[in-house]
């Protein structure tokens, strides 16, 4: 019950502080820019390119770029909306009047997580769905595994969210933000090392990449989402770079990411329940 009160309060806070509207409005702006760009490029391509494979390549590049930008935005938004959620209320002593009520501490943390998770889900579905819809309406191109792909994009947001919430139970707001972004950065560079290693058949490099994916399974979820959606990637142009999937992430990695998320959340609940305020 308390968990739901706090989840609702969390959503109401983002609404009252105009975070919700700003996020949705700017998301809409993103879709408008993507839609206009896609429209004019596709107009040009459909006039001058007759080979349907080449046409699909252009569509694939634009769509992947759009998804990649959304993937990054989900990470940033996940950190920004939740970074002050716990530490900020500890620093402002707001939490004291709440925890002295007949509530359990973990209910407060779980409630906040649920509120932010719901917002991230809406945000990621809106943007990912919006981009895919624009592409379909304009060019008729569809993607595979639509729901699984979109789900993994949201899951990545939840993983980052859990990391920030867990950090907030112990760290100050700023160091928590630094920690979350740096973890994302480490996973990002690890993903590149793994790809290049796979291309060069360098096993050590691949192992380093796998290790970073275990430390922070964010980039791997993006890679997995992309490989599920397959927006026209059977092309040598995608051998390297953030759009490339040199080594196919296994399904086991999805299971690991969910385990990672639950473990982080459990750590947040326990750590917050034990700390002095």
């Amino acid at each position: 019950m308390t968990t739901l009160i706090i989840a609702e309060l969390t959503i109401r806070e983002t609404q009252r502080r105009r975070i919700l509207w700003m996020t949705l409005l700017m998301g809409l702006g993103f879709l408008v820019v993507f839609g206009l760009g896609f429209h004019y490029i596709y107009l040009d391509v459909s006039k001058h390119v007759t080979d349907s494979n080449e046409r699909n390549l252009v569509v694939g590049v634009l769509l992947t770029a759009g998804l990649y930008a959304i993937n990054f935005l989900i990470v940033v938004i996940a950190v920004l909306i939740s970074v002050t959620a716990v530490s900020g209320e500890i620093e402002s002593h707001t939490i004291e009047a709440i925890l002295t009520k007949p509530v359990r501490r973990w209910e407060i943390i779980l409630g906040k997580w649920l509120g932010f998770a719901a917002l991230l889900l809406v945000y990621s579905l809106l943007l990912t769905g919006g981009v895919l819809l624009i592409v379909y309406l304009r060019s008729g191109v569809t993607v595979n595994n639509l729901w699984a792909g979109m789900g993994l994009m949201a899951l990545q947001g939840w993983v980052i969210l859990s990391l920030t919430i867990a950090g907030g139970a112990r760290l100050s707001t700023l160091s928590n933000g630094v920690m979350a972004f740096m973890m994302y950065g480490i996973a990002f560079i690890g993903g590149w090392v793994e790809q290049i290693g796979a291309l060069l058949r360098n096993e050590t490099a691949v192992d380093i990449g796998i290790a970073t994916s275990l430390i922070m399974p964010s980039e791997i979820l993006w890679k997995k989402a992309l490989s599920l959606l397959e927006p026209g990637l059977a092309n040598p142009a995608f051998n390297i770079g953030p759009f490339a999937i040199a080594s196919q992430p296994s399904n086991l990695m999805i299971g690991y990411a969910i385990f990672y998320l639950v473990a982080l959340l459990a750590l947040a609940l326990i750590s917050f329940s034990r700390r002095d305020l």
Binding site: I5, S92, T94, P102
Partner: protein
Amino acid sequence: MTTDNLAIDARGLRKEFGQKTAVADFTLQVKRGEIFGFLGPNGAGKTTSVKMLLGLTAPTDGTATLLGHPLGDRQTRAKVGFLPEHFRFHEWLTAAEFLDLHGRLFGMSKSARTAVIPDLLELVGLADRAATKLHAFSKGMLQRIGLAQALLNDPELVFLDEPTSGLDPLGRRLVRDIINSLRVEGTAVFLNSHLLSEVEQTCDRVAFIREGVILQTASLASFEQESVDVILRVGEPTPQLLSNLVRFGEGVRLDEGNGRIHLTLPYENKLPELAQWLVNNNQTLYELRPQRLSLEDRFLQIVGGEVESEKQTT
């Protein structure tokens, strides 16, 4: 005292932060329905003590019960109210929404909340501000709404941490009246305050804490049982009169400068006796002035040097 009639029963609570001992020995009992003042200089361990009692901070050692239940008991917290000292509530909520939220956290039903919230807003003088967001509130108004929040659940024990610090004289009067009405209802109040005159006017008993140790716990009424210095002015302060006064108290001496006699009576109830004796012995009595120690004097006496050195550094 059995545990049943105690609102707070703390025995040897101790809190260490690494090498630093914030509270060394917090031992005190507060009866149900009692208004209890907790006094000490800044950094003496007042807030840490309150946080241990409220389950916000885990004690390193010692035990305590609130309303007969061990610390940290969740159901007990439904009967405890708390106004924190440094607080910033969710300022994007309106006053009524804020009270509604905290009522829900107390586990109150919707009907209970709608019944009590208008009354509480009225009580703290914010009835016309129910729809105003908290960020538009002054410090004093926040203090009032915070107080209303602490009383939502009709508590049996209320912790007030510096409840009057942001308030003007009118607001302080209001808090005093509220505390007095809590006394009538039988609610125990644990009051942390720097304003000693406030404590003097509202509390039944006080405890003094310094450097994490409770130095003295005393009822304000007991201070009246203590010896009292008296200043006396009569028409003719003869040496014979002075020697006769020795039967009433100690330290009889004549201040040659202003002709006043000083002496110390062992009890306050010696005062009328002394007055009667003077009149019966045909002394012309101009002045009979007991010099009672104010709470502030006692605070300085007990906590003494700490406060002085603090004044110099701030």
